[in-house]
């Protein structure tokens, strides 16, 4: 195991005694949100791996078929993964764009406005996408 990630490099006692670096970071930080942002970014990334493989395969299969896009999307094996994809994708996009804004925008008011806009836009796009799939299906 490499040096940077060895368990408990800093001796700091927390409730429960032996703590890993991740355990210590949970629920801490100035916003008391700990590693939530970091963790959701990884979870959405892992979810996107099979969903992405499905997406590319399903699109190629669709391209080779004669059915219309609406008929294709109305099938449960397309509609359901598509909704899951929209959820994981826009969570991942929201968190990723937030980090980029926080890294490069140093004017507090502008940073706040941009982050809020990104969050709002991502949730709006997610809802429009899911609603469209449901409209096509039902």
């Amino acid at each position: 195991m490499s040096e940077w990630n060895r368990s408990d490099p800093i001796k700091r006692d927390v409730a429960g005694g032996k703590a890993t670096a991740l355990h210590r970071a949970k629920g801490l930080g100035s916003a008391k949100s700990g590693v939530n942002h970091w963790w959701l970014q990884r979870v959405s990334a892992v979810a996107l791996v099979p969903l992405f493989v499905w997406f590319v395969t399903a699109l190629l299969v669709h391209a080779g078929s004669a059915r219309t896009a609406a008929d294709w999307l109305a099938q449960p094996w397309v509609a359901l993964p598509m909704i899951l994809l929209l959820i994981a994708l826009f969570q991942h996009m929201r968190l990723g764009l937030q980090v980029i804004i926080e890294d490069y925008v140093h004017v507090d008011r502008l940073k706040f406005a941009l982050v809020v806009t990104v969050h709002g836009a991502c949730y709006s796009l997610m809802v429009v996408g899911i609603f469209s799939v449901l409209m096509i299906t039902f």
């Binding site: 990884r42 391209a63 826009f90 996009m93 796009l125 469209s132």
Partner: protein, 129 residues
């Protein structure tokens, strides 16, 4: 007396680009570019839901040469972000974090994303004719 301050490290203007830093910034750039693609995906879904008029317009835009160029760039961005994302997840699990492995996996990501993009488009063009 005016003294010129030495450049502070890391100063991107004087820093020699390395594979590691270049791949890192491309990961961000492809992420931003894919955000635009995600918006187009929602527009496409909404147009299918809206019906013939809207769908015909979106379909024609995507089938134009400029639409095709966008789709090609998103295909590459998607494969790159996918492959390099897996590389990042491996690092999070503490695999491949030695310098030799980082360079090897870096070049692997570049080769894989180029090859997968080419294979996908060849298949797509063969299918659609």
């Amino acid at each position: 007396m005016a003294t010129k301050l030495p450049p502070r490290s890391p100063d991107v203007q004087v820093y020699r680009p390395q594979l590691t830093s270049v791949l890192s910034i491309i990961h961000r750039a492809t992420g931003v570019w894919l955000s635009l693609g995600a918006i187009v995906l929602v527009i496409w879904l909404a147009s299918v839901a809206a019906g013939d008029g809207a769908y015909t317009l979106v379909r024609a835009s995507l089938h134009s040469w400029i639409g095709g160029a966008f789709l090609l760039s998103w295909t590459f961005a998607l494969y790159y972000h996918f492959c390099n994302g897996i590389r990042h997840l491996a690092w999070d699990l503490n695999y491949g974090f030695e310098l030799v492995s980082i360079y090897r996996s870096g070049w692997l990501v570049v080769a894989a994303s180029v090859c997968l993009t080419a294979v996908t488009w060849v298949i797509a063009l063969l299918i659609t004719g």
